[in-house]
């Protein structure tokens, strides 16, 4: 029997690796200096630590350390990349229309969608691509949406709800051919999958510390410096830290933690990916074999190894979570946040409202064990079976009634 509760929500956040915490600790107390203090050893020591972390993050991404900007997290990185690039490469000054065209996708994270909606209000045109059913955005889809005035493409590397992987290298190559800035939100990708910003044609890349076993409140933005050199308008102004891209005293302990986390991810990535993929496949296989009317959402292969999103027909997501109270995972439905709206990502893929209401996201992590996976499988299967005994929809399905043909009275 594994220790309860079981954490299977690593796409939401991860625990800090104890090695990361150990690396951070001295920077709260004896090495507390401000890296901006240029004239004493406290400052030099802090600066040295920050530069080491910059190198560690750069190595993870195949970048040069001068191309890494530290931020407060991926949300800030996305805001800086999208608003900063749009403002810098705008075709017309602020206050006018037709300032340029931006391409993104409907199933991006809100931290990309909302900055893009902001751009719409500020005179930019934004295309929100409709994803295909498998969730994977291809080069062809982006190419079809390109215009003469396209200045920026922002597409996530891997989706946070369903784990599908967009064709980033091909899209990066396309953007470089057309001289369009390419930003990718790699929050779920970086640290988990091999990344090489040179090979993959990325100009701007956002990542977060707490998704890779580092601390919360720290992240990074990769900003390409050559072929081509990408410029950004700063959002946050002040002391001119981070080459003027991001003013504010550096979060030294956080940055040291992010660096340590990046280094551990790089060293353990290959074996970890294999282990996680094996466990995820076992989870998916057991659930889809033992239950009928279940669906794994998103492309079958082009998915992150540690994440799966499964829809269970004829049961409702919140009651399913209630039946799995010893397992921490995420419901495809946002019911728990009181909005009663099913996931916009699953709806965007064309998953019906009925199935989108009963989806669970399982995301495995560094300390997930086979024993935990077995427990979760049994727990979920038993819960679905129990709820289907209660479900009028499952009865109708078994009687051969098509529930989509019934005239429901929406309330």
């Amino acid at each position: 029997m594994p220790k309860l509760p079981i954490y299977m929500d690593h796409a939401a956040t991860t625990p800090c690796d104890p090695r990361v915490v150990e690396a951070m600790l001295p920077y709260f107390t004896e090495r507390f200096g401000n890296p901006g203090s240029r004239n004493h050893s406290f400052g030099w020591e802090a600066e040295e630590a920050v530069e080491r972390a910059r190198e560690q993050v750069a190595s993870l991404l195949g970048a040069d350390r001068k191309e890494i900007i530290f931020t407060s997290g991926a949300t800030e990185s996305n805001n800086l990349a999208i608003k900063g690039a749009a403002s810098m490469y705008a075709k017309a000054p602020a206050g006018s229309d037709k300032r340029g065209h931006v391409i993104t996708c409907r199933i991006e994270h809100k931290a990309v969608l909302d900055p893009c909606k902001r751009l719409q209000k500020e005179g930019f045109d934004v295309t929100f691509l409709d994803p295909p059913r498998d969730g994977v955005i291809t080069r062809e889809m982006v190419e079809a949406a390109l215009r003469d005035d396209t200045i920026l493409v922002s597409l996530m590397w891997a989706n946070n709800e369903i784990g599908t992987i967009n064709e980033v290298p091909a899209i990066g190559a396309l953007c470089h051919e057309r001289e369009i800035v390419f930003h990718t939100d790699a929050t779920q990708w970086a640290g988990k999958m091999p990344t090489d910003v040179e090979r993959d044609g990325v100009d701007l890349l956002s990542m977060s510390g707490h998704k890779i076993y580092g601390p919360k409140g720290v992240g990074a933005l990769y900003v390409r410096r050559r072929r081509p050199r990408i410029r950004l308008t700063a959002i946050q102004e002040g002391g001119g830290q981070e080459r003027g891209f991001r003013s504010g005293t550096l979060n030294v302990p956080g940055i040291v933690g992010l660096g340590a986390a990046a280094e551990i991810c790089r060293a353990e990535m290959d074996s970890e990916r294999e282990r996680l993929l094996r466990m995820r496949q076992r989870l998916e296989k057991a659930i889809t074999t033992r239950l009928d009317v279940v669906q794994v959402n998103g492309h079958a292969e082009k998915r992150l190894p540690h994440l799966t999103n499964i829809s269970f027909g004829f049961v409702e997501g919140e009651s399913l979570m209630m039946a799995c109270k010893d397992v921490a995972m995420s419901s495809g439905s946002a019911c728990t946040s009181a909005s009663l709206e099913p996931s916009y990502v699953l709806k965007g893929l064309g998953v019906g409202d009925d199935l989108a209401h009963s989806s669970l996201r399982f995301s495995l992590g560094r300390w997930t064990t086979d024993e935990e996976v077995d427990y979760v499988i049994d727990n979920v299967v038993r819960a679905v079976e129990k709820l289907r005994l209660l479900s009028p929809l499952y009865d109708m399905h078994q009687e051969g009634i098509d529930i989509t043909k019934i005239e429901w009275q929406a309330h």
Binding site: V315, C335, A338, D353, L390, P392, M396, W408, A410
Partner: protein, 144 residues
């Protein structure tokens, strides 16, 4: 979200789960009234069935099935308990506010109690219609 102990108790031990036959069978039965309310895309569907003694008008048995959150399951489970032993007209006096109070439902879950009240009315209406007992209840239910 934290559920009240009564919601959890009903959710873990739902009362009177089931039906009095297949969809086709209960349609034919004059002593059974069926209420089916809600919609899958809204995340809850309640099916409530009552079996009435035609001589006394007393609801002798009630069954439910529910696709929905814990509060929806608890509301419909509670509705079956409260219906048993009442006459159909007494059944119509059950109000969603009583369910809210009994289960300590938070504001975001009040719609579950409304749905349970709708299910009660729909089941009673169905029984009355099958037995030619006037359209009064029907118009009441629609006005809701």
């Amino acid at each position: 979200m934290a559920y009240s102990s009564k919601v959890i108790e009903h959710y873990e031990n739902p009362r009177n789960v089931g039906s009095f036959g297949t969809t086709g069978e209960v349609k034919q039965r004059k002593d059974v009234g069926v209420g089916l309310v809600g919609a899958p895309e809204c995340g809850d569907v309640m099916q409530l069935q009552i079996r009435v003694n035609p001589d006394t008008g007393v609801i002798e048995d009630a069954r439910f099935k529910c696709f929905g959150c814990g509060s929806a399951i608890a509301s419909s489970s509670l509705a079956t308990e409260w219906l048993k032993g009442r006459t159909v007209d007494e059944g119509l006096t059950i109000k969603n506010t009583q369910i809210v109070e009994e289960l300590s439902l938070p504001p975001v879950k009040i719609h579950c109690s409304v749905l349970a009240e709708d299910a009660i009315r729909a089941a009673i209406e169905d029984y009355k219609q099958k037995n030619g007992l006037g359209a009064e209840a029907a118009s009441d239910a629609r006005a809701h």
